[in-house]
C-alpha cells in the first residue's frame, strides 16, 4: 500500500483538536450573536422606515387639507366686507 503516512503525533493533535473545538464554540457563539445584532438593526431600520412612511403619509394628507383650508380662509380674508 502506497500510503505516505498518517497522523504522526496523534496525542498532541487530539489535544489540539479538542482545544480547537472549544475555541470555536466561543467564536461561533460570538459571531452568531453579532449576526443577530445585525439582523435586528436591519429589521429595525426597515420597520422604522415604514412607520415613518406611514406617518409621512398622514402628514401629507393633513398638509393638503391644510392647504385647502388656507385657500378658503384667504378668500374670506380678502373680502372682509362679506362677513360684517
Amino acid at each position: 500500500m502506497a500510503r505516505a503516512g498518517g497522523i504522526t503525533n496523534a496525542v498532541n493533535v487530539g489535544i489540539a483538536v479538542q482545544a480547537d473545538w472549544e475555541n470555536r464554540e466561543f467564536i461561533s457563539n460570538i459571531s452568531l450573536n453579532v449576526r443577530r445584532l445585525f439582523e435586528f438593526l436591519l429589521q429595525f431600520e426597515a420597520t422604522t422606515k415604514s412607520k415613518l412612511a406611514c406617518l409621512n403619509e398622514k402628514l401629507d394628507v393633513l398638509e393638503r387639507r391644510l392647504e385647502v383650508l388656507e385657500v378658503q380662509v384667504s378668500t374670506a380674508s380678502a373680502n372682509p366686507s362679506v362677513f360684517t
Binding site: 500500500m1 503516512g5 489540539a16 449576526r35 415604514s50 406611514c54 378668500t75
Partner: protein, 1208 residues
C-alpha cells in the same frame, strides 16, 4: 453589572418589529459573515495541523483555487467585451491631415483592451501548464505524496471548467478579432516612428494566432497535458468522479451539477486522444452511462406543483433546510435549463408583423426570448421565480434562528460517526487490519470532540481497546459548532484512502466493493457519511448558498446576442424580466398579481452580478436605466389597472340588483375579485439598493387620476345638454364609491375635497361652482328656450324646433374606459341606463341636480332663476302693452245666440292683433320661459321636500319626536330627548370616573349635542322653494300692477274691460288652441304646458283668477257649446243619428279647450294651496342654504336680498 450577551440579544427580540409590509419581494441584500465555508477561509492552512502529510496536496489546491479566481475575472472580461471599433469616429475629408493623430489616439484606446486580451492569453498558457503539471504530479502510480483529495478533484474540475468557458467566450466574440485587426493596422501606422518594434510585432503575431484560432485554449491544454504521457490515470479518475457525482446527484447545488455537465465531454475528449486510452476508459466507464447522463429532459413549461412542495417541507429543521436547498437548487437549475433550451431553439416565425407596424427584421435575441415564450410559459416562469425568491427569502430570514440548530445537528452527525460508528468498526471488522484501523483512528483524532461527551470522557481511551465491553450508545452533549472546511476536507480524504487505498486505477466506482476488503455494511456507512460531509459545507454556508441558489440575474444577461445583433442594447420589450411584469399586467391574473414585483429581483440580481462578479460599471448603468424605465412603466400601468378594477367594482356594486337578476348574462357584470391590498401596502420596495415607497407613489397617482376623472366627467357634461345630469351623477357616484373602496387601503384625499377643488368651489364667499354655473348656463341658453313642459308626465322634453344650440357644443370628449366604469360591459350597461334619461328632464334629473350642486350652490341657482323670472316679466310687460293697445276698449260677454260658430266669429273680430303675430310669439315664448322656470321650481320643491322628509325620518328618533296615535307629531318632554340625554349620561359617567383627566372636553361635547338638538328641531318645519318663488314673482309683478289690472272705477266687477292681463292671456290661449287644431297638434308641442303655468300664475297673482274663469274666451266658448249641445240634443232628441255629427269640426277644438281648462284649474288649485293670497307669506333661504321657516315679509324686492347675488 454586565448583562450576558444572550440575554441582551434575546431582549432585542422583544421589540415589536412588525410592519404591514407583505413579503412579495425577494431579498435584496444578503448579510453574510462567513467567507464562504465551502472554500476554506484560511486557505487550508489548518490542514497541516492534523499532520496528515497533505502539504503538497493543500499547496496544489490553493494554487488551483487562485487560478480559478483569476480565471473567473478573465471570463468576465471576455464576457463583457464590447467592440471598440464600432465606437471609433470616422474623420471627415476636411480633417484628413489629422489622420496620424487619430491613429495614435485609437491605438492608445485599443492598446488598453488588447493588453487585457494579451493577459488572458498569458494566463491561459500558465494555467494550462500548471493544471497539467498538477495532474501529472498526482497521477504517478507510485504515489510519493498523499493526494489528490476530493477537494482537489473539485478544484481541478473547476479550473478546467473555467478554461472551457474562456474558450467558448473567445469563440463567440466576433468583435475581438475585428478590434484586433484594427489595432494591428493602427499599430503599423503608429509604430513607423518607433524603433525596435520587433518584439512587439512578435507579440502581436502570437496574439493574432491565439485570437483567430478556435479552441486555442483547449488545444493548448491538450498539448500541455500530453507532453509527458502520464495523465490518463487522473483523467479517468476524474471522469469516474464526474459520472458518479452526476448519477448519485451528489452535487447539492445546481451550479456544481452544471459544471460537471460542462466538463465531462471535454474530459472524455481529452482522455480518448489515443485509441488505447479510449479502450481503457470505456472499459471502466461504459459509453451508455455517459450518454444517459446527457439525456436531460427539459420541461417545455416548468410547472412546479404545490402538492409536491407541501409534501417536501415536512421533517425536522435540518432536513427541511437540506430540502429547501435541494428544492431551490432544482428550481433554479430548471430555470437555467429552460433558458438554455429556449436559447438553443429560437422561435421559427415570430408573431405576424402587423403588431409591429411592418418591421420584419428581428434580432436573434427577440427570436429566442421575446417571441419564444408563450403566455403559459411566462406564467410558469414567473411562478417559479416567485417560488425561488420567496422560499429563498424565508430561508434567509430564519438564518440566525436555525444557525445553532444546524451546527448542533452537524456536530451530532459528525461526532456520532467518529465516536460511535467508527468505534464499532474498530472493534469489529477492522480489528485485524492494522493499516486501515490506523486511518480510522486518524479520523477520530482529527475530528472527535470528546469534551462535549462528558459522560464517556474518562473511559474513551479504554473503550478503544477493550473489545469485550458492551457497545452502548454514546451520550454526548452536542455543541453548536460545526466542523471546519479543513476537517471535512481531511475526513473526506481519509475515507477515500480507506476505501480506495490510494489506488487510482481501482476499477468500479469509489465505493464499488472490490478489493478493499471492507465489509459491505461498513462501506455503506462510510459512503453515506462521505456524501453527507460535502452537504455539510453548503449548509454551514447558509447565506452564501441561499444567495447562489436564488440568484436569477442570468435571466437578464444577453452579451452574446448584443454581439451578434450589432446593437448597443435591446428595448425593454425583449427583456425577460419586463416580459414577466408585462404578462401580469396584460393577463390580469389575480393569482399572479402579488408576484408582480418578483421580476424586479431579477434586475437586482443582475445588477449585483454586474457590479461584483463581472465588475463592469457600464453593465450596471444599462441595467439601472432599464429598471428606471420599467418601474415607471409599471407604476403607470399598475395605476391604471388598480383604478379600473376599483371603478368596475364600484360600478358593479351600484348596479341595480334586480336589473342584474333579470339579465340573461348577468355574469358579465360581476367583477372578478383581485387582491390589490397587499401591493398597496408596500412601503419599501427594494430596487437596486434603493428603497422605494410604492404606496405613496400609487397614492399620489391615484389622487391625480381621480381628479382627472372628475374633470373629465365635467368636461363631458359640459358637452351635453342638461338631461345628461343624471349620467353625470351616476358616474360621480361610481367614482365616489370607488374612492371609498380605495380608501380602505390607501390614504387618499377626501372625495368631497377633490370634488370641490375640481368644481372650483373652494372659496368661502362664492356660492357658484363650475357645475352650478354650467347648469345655469344650460338652463338659460338651452333649457328654457328649447324645452317644453308636459304637465301630466311632469317632464320637460326638447321641442322639435328647438335644437339650435345642439350644434354649437364642443364635441363630447372620449376617453379610456376607466374614466367611466372600468369595463366594456359595465360601460355599455351604464350607457343604456343613462340613455333612458337623456331625452327628458324630470324628477330624477332634479334629484341629480340637487345632489350634485348641493345645498351650497342651490341658493345661487335659485336666485339666478328668480332673477330670470323677473327679467322675463319685465320683458313681457311692454309687449303686453302693445297687445293691449290692439284690443278694443271694451269686450263684452259672448252672446249665446250665435252658437258656436257665431261666437268663434265674434272672438275673431275682437282679437284684432292679427298684424302683431311676432309680438304674440315673443310674449308666448317669454311666458313659456317663465312657466318653465316656475315649474322647475315646483319640481325642485318636490325633490327638496322628499329629501327633507327622509332626513327628518332619520333624525326624528334622536330628537325624541314620534308619531302619536292620532297621526300627529309628538315630542317627549324636554329633559328626556334621546340625543341630549345620551351625551349627558356619558358625560356624568366619565366625569365621575377617577381617571378622567380633562372633563372639560366632554362638557363641550354635551353642549354641542344640545345645540345640535336645537338646530335639527328647527329644521323640521322647512320652507318651500316654490312658495318663495311665487312670492318673488308676485313682488316682481307688483310694480306693474296698475297697468295689468285696471281697478274698477265703480267698485263692482268691470266685465267689459280689455286692459286686464287675463284678457290678453285669454286671447292668446284661444288663438293657440285654434292653431293647435289647425295644424294637427304640431304647434302645441312648441309651447307646451308651461305657457298655461305662467299665464295662470300671473293671473292669479294679479288677483284676476275669478275674472279669467268667468270671461275667458275658451271657457265661454265651451259653455256656449255645452248649451248649444244641450239645446240641440233636446230638440233633436228623436234623431239620434244626427246628434253625434252635430258639432263635428269643433270636437277637436273643444277637446283642446277642455284640456286647457283642466290644466288651468290644476295650476290655480296648486297656487291657491301654495300661495294663499290673503296673507302674503313666504320663506327665506339663508346664506348657509338652509331654508328658514315660514316668515311673513313685506312684499318688496328688497326682501329677497337674503339670497346670494348671481354674480357672487
Amino acid at each position: 453589572m454586565a448583562i450576558p450577551v444572550e440575554e441582551a440579544i434575546a431582549a432585542l427580540s422583544t421589540f415589536t418589529l412588525e410592519d404591514e409590509q407583505p413579503d412579495v419581494q425577494g431579498l435584496a441584500a444578503l448579510l453574510s459573515i462567513e467567507r464562504c465555508a465551502t472554500t476554506s477561509p484560511t486557505e487550508y492552512a489548518d490542514v497541516s495541523a492534523y499532520r496528515l502529510s497533505l502539504m503538497e496536496d493543500t499547496k496544489a489546491i490553493n494554487q488551483l483555487n487562485t487560478l480559478i479566481q483569476e480565471g473567473k475575472e478573465m471570463a468576465s472580461v471576455l464576457y463583457t467585451y464590447r467592440s471598440c471599433v464600432k465606437a471609433l469616429p470616422q474623420l471627415p475629408d476636411s480633417m484628413k491631415h489629422n489622420q496620424a493623430d487619430l491613429y495614435l489616439e485609437t491605438y492608445q484606446v485599443l492598446d488598453l483592451e488588447m493588453s487585457r486580451l494579451r493577459e488572458i492569453q498569458r494566463w491561459q498558457a500558465s494555467a494550462a501548464s500548471k493544471l497539467a503539471a498538477d495532474m501529472q504530479r498526482f497521477s504517478r502510480p507510485e504515489r510519493l505524496i498523499n493526494g489528490p483529495t476530493v477537494t482537489h478533484f473539485w478544484s481541478m474540475l473547476k479550473l478546467l471548467d473555467i478554461l472551457v468557458q474562456l474558450d467558448h467566450l473567445k469563440n463567440a466574440k466576433a468583435s475581438i478579432p475585428n478590434d484586433f485587426s484594427w489595432y494591428k493596422r493602427t499599430f503599423t501606422q503608429v509604430s513607423m516612428q518607433w524603433q525596435d518594434t520587433d518584439t512587439m510585432r512578435e507579440e502581436l503575431d502570437d496574439l493574432q494566432i491565439f485570437l483567430s484560432t478556435r479552441w486555442a485554449i483547449l488545444l493548448n491544454l491538450h498539448a500541455e497535458m500530453f507532453r509527458a504521457n502520464t495523465v490518463e490515470d487522473i483523467l479517468q479518475v476524474l471522469i469516474v468522479f464526474c459520472v458518479e457525482s452526476l448519477e448519485l446527484d451528489f452535487a447539492l447545488l445546481f451550479p456544481e451539477r452544471h459544471m460537471l455537465l460542462r466538463v465531462l465531454p471535454v474530459l472524455v475528449v481529452l482522455a480518448t486522444s489515443s485509441e488505447k486510452d479510449a479502450d481503457s476508459l470505456y472499459r471502466r466507464v461504459k459509453i451508455n452511462r455517459l450518454i444517459s447522463i446527457f439525456k436531460v429532459i427539459i420541461l417545455k413549461s416548468t410547472e412546479a406543483s404545490d402538492a409536491e412542495w407541501s409534501r417536501e417541507v415536512k421533517g425536522n429543521m435540518y432536513d427541511m433546510v437540506i430540502e429547501g436547498f435541494q428544492l431551490l437548487s432544482r428550481w433554479t437549475g430548471r430555470l437555467w435549463e429552460q433558458c438554455a433550451w429556449k436559447f438553443s431553439r429560437p422561435c421559427k416565425d415570430p408573431v405576424a408583423s402587423d403588431s409591429l407596424g411592418g418591421s420584419t427584421t428581428f434580432f436573434d435575441y427577440e427570436k429566442v426570448v421575446r417571441w419564444n415564450y408563450t403566455s403559459d410559459e411566462r406564467k410558469a416562469v414567473l411562478e417559479l421565480v416567485s417560488y425561488i425568491k420567496s422560499v429563498g427569502s424565508m430561508m434567509q430570514r430564519c438564518d440566525t434562528l436555525v444557525a445553532d440548530a444546524l451546527w448542533e445537528t452537524i456536530h451530532v452527525e459528525v461526532q456520532d460517526f467518529v465516536q460511535d460508528k467508527l468505534d464499532t468498526m474498530l472493534r469489529t471488522s477492522f480489528r485485524k487490519k492494522k493499516d486501515l484501523s490506523r486511518i480510522l483512528s486518524d479520523m477520530r483524532t482529527l475530528s472527535a470532540d470528546w469534551m462535549a461527551n462528558t459522560s464517556r470522557h474518562d473511559t474513551e481511551l479504554h473503550a478503544l481497546r477493550q473489545e469485550g465491553e458492551e457497545p452502548r450508545p454514546n451520550i454526548f452533549y452536542p455543541r453548536p459548532v460545526a466542523p471546519t472546511a479543513a476537517q471535512v476536507h481531511c475526513l473526506q480524504f481519509l475515507i477515500c484512502e480507506l476505501v480506495a487505498g490510494g489506488n487510482l486505477r481501482k476499477h468500479g466506482g469509489l465505493f464499488g466493493n472490490s478489493g478493499s476488503g471492507i465489509a459491505v455494511d461498513d462501506l455503506k456507512q462510510l459512503e453515506t457519511f462521505f456524501y453527507k460531509l460535502s452537504f455539510f459545507l453548503h449548509i454551514l454556508d447558509y447565506t452564501a448558498t441561499v444567495g447562489t441558489l436564488t440568484d436569477l440575474g442570468f435571466l437578464w444577461f444577453r452579451e452574446f446576442y448584443l454581439e451578434s445583433s450589432r446593437v448597443i442594447q435591446f428595448p425593454i420589450e425583449c427583456s425577460l424580466p419586463w416580459m414577466l411584469v408585462d404578462n401580469v399586467i396584460e393577463s390580469q391574473d389575480p393569482g399572479l398579481l402579488e408576484s408582480i414585483l418578483m421580476p424586479f429581483d431579477i434586475y437586482n440580481d443582475a445588477a449585483q452580478n454586474a457590479l461584483t462578479m463581472l465588475k463592469q460599471r457600464f453593465l450596471y448603468d444599462e441595467i439601472e436605466a432599464e429598471v428606471d424605465l420599467c418601474f415607471d412603466q409599471l407604476l403607470y400601468k399598475l395605476n391604471e389597472i388598480i383604478f379600473s378594477y376599483y371603478k368596475s367594482r364600484a360600478a358593479s356594486d351600484l348596479l341595480d340588483q334586480s336589473f342584474i337578476a333579470s339579465c340573461n348574462d348577468d355574469n358579465k357584470y360581476f367583477v372578478k375579485p383581485m387582491r390589490f391590498n397587499e401591493i398597496l401596502k408596500l412601503r419599501r420596495v427594494k430596487l437596486l439598493g434603493r428603497s422605494i415607497d410604492l404606496r405613496s407613489l400609487l397614492t399620489q397617482r391615484l389622487n391625480k387620476l381621480i381628479r382627472e376623472n372628475i374633470d373629465f366627467l365635467f368636461d363631458r357634461f359640459e358637452g351635453q345638454d342638461l338631461c345628461a345630469v343624471v349620467e353625470l351623477q351616476q358616474h360621480l357616484e361610481i367614482l365616489k364609491h370607488s374612492h371609498n373602496l380605495l380608501s380602505k387601503d390607501l390614504e387618499l384625499d377626501s372625495f368631497s375635497l377633490m370634488l370641490n377643488e375640481m368644481q372650483e368651489n373652494l372659496s368661502l364667499i362664492s356660492y357658484s361652482s363650475r357645475l352650478a354655473s354650467q347648469i345655469w348656463t344650460e338652463m338659460q341658453n338651452d333649457f328654457f328656450p328649447n324645452f317644453i313642459l308636459c304637465n301630466t308626465t311632469q317632464r320637460f322634453i326638447r321641442s322639435i324646433k328647438g335644437d339650435r344650440h345642439a350644434s354649437q357644443r364642443a364635441s363630447v370628449p372620449s376617453a379610456k374606459s376607466y374614466f367611466f366604469c372600468g369595463s366594456q360591459d359595465l360601460n355599455a350597461a351604464y350607457h343604456n341606463l343613462a340613455a333612458m334619461y337623456s331625452e327628458f328632464f324630470g324628477i330624477p334629473h332634479m334629484f341629480a341636480v340637487v345632489q350634485l350642486i348641493g345645498l351650497r350652490s342651490l341658493p345661487w341657482i335659485i336666485r339666478a332663476i328668480l332673477d330670470h323670472i323677473a327679467v322675463k316679466v319685465n320683458v313681457i310687460i311692454p309687449k303686453i302693452y302693445g297687445l293691449q293697445d290692439a284690443l278694443p276698449k271694451s269686450i263684452g260677454l259672448l252672446p249665446f245666440d250665435g252658437g258656436v260658430a257665431g261666437s268663434q266669429k265674434i272672438i275673431h273680430e275682437l282679437l284684432t292683433w292679427g298684424t302683431k303675430s311676432e309680438l304674440k310669439a315673443e310674449v308666448l315664448q317669454s311666458l313659456k320661459e317663465v312657466g318653465s322656470a316656475l315649474y322647475w321650481m315646483s319640481l325642485l320643491d318636490l325633490v327638496l321636500r322628499e329629501i327633507d322628509t327622509t332626513q327628518f325620518m332619520q333624525t326624528a328618533p334622536w330628537l325624541g319626536l314620534f308619531m302619536g296615535t292620532d297621526g300627529q307629531l309628538k315630542e317627549v318632554d324636554s329633559g328626556n330627548r334621546p340625543l341630549v340625554s345620551l351625551f349627558r349620561l356619558a358625560n356624568t359617567e366619565i366625569v365621575s370616573h377617577a381617571t378622567c383627566q380633562n372633563p372639560n372636553s366632554f362638557n363641550i361635547m354635551l353642549k354641542q349635542a344640545e345645540a345640535a338638538d336645537l338646530i335639527y328641531k328647527k329644521n323640521i318645519i322647512s320652507a318651500s322653494v316654490l312658495e318663495y318663488a311665487l312670492a318673488f314673482t308676485s313682488a316682481a309683478l307688483d310694480k306693474h300692477y296698475s297697468k295689468l289690472s285696471a281697478n274698477p272705477k265703480t267698485g263692482f266687477i268691470d266685465i267689459t274691460t280689455s286692459k286686464d292681463f287675463y284678457r290678453i292671456f285669454s286671447g292668446l290661449q284661444f288663438e293657440y288652441l285654434e292653431e293647435t287644431v289647425l295644424e294637427s297638434s304640431r304647434r302645441h308641442d312648441s309651447w307646451g304646458d308651461s305657457v298655461a303655468w305662467a299665464g295662470c300664475t300671473i293671473i292669479y297673482l294679479l288677483g284676476q283668477q275669478l275674472h279669467f274663469e268667468l270671461f275667458d274666451f275658451s271657457y265661454q266658448f265651451l259653455n256656449i257649446a255645452e248649451v248649444e249641445n244641450a239645446a240641440i240634443a233636446h230638440t233633436l232628441s228623436f234623431d239620434r243619428s244626427k246628434n253625434s255629427n252635430f258639432l263635428q269640426g269643433y270636437e277637436i277644438l273643444l277637446e283642446a279647450m277642455r284640456k286647457a281648462r283642466r290644466l288651468n284649474n290644476h295650476v290655480f288649485s296648486m297656487l291657491r294651496a301654495r300661495c294663499p293670497l290673503e296673507d302674503k307669506v313666504a320663506c327665506a333661504i339663508k346664506h348657509s342654504g338652509a331654508p328658514q321657516h315660514r316668515i311673513t315679509f313685506v312684499n318688496t324686492l328688497s326682501a329677497f336680498e337674503t339670497l346670494p347675488q348671481k354674480e357672487a
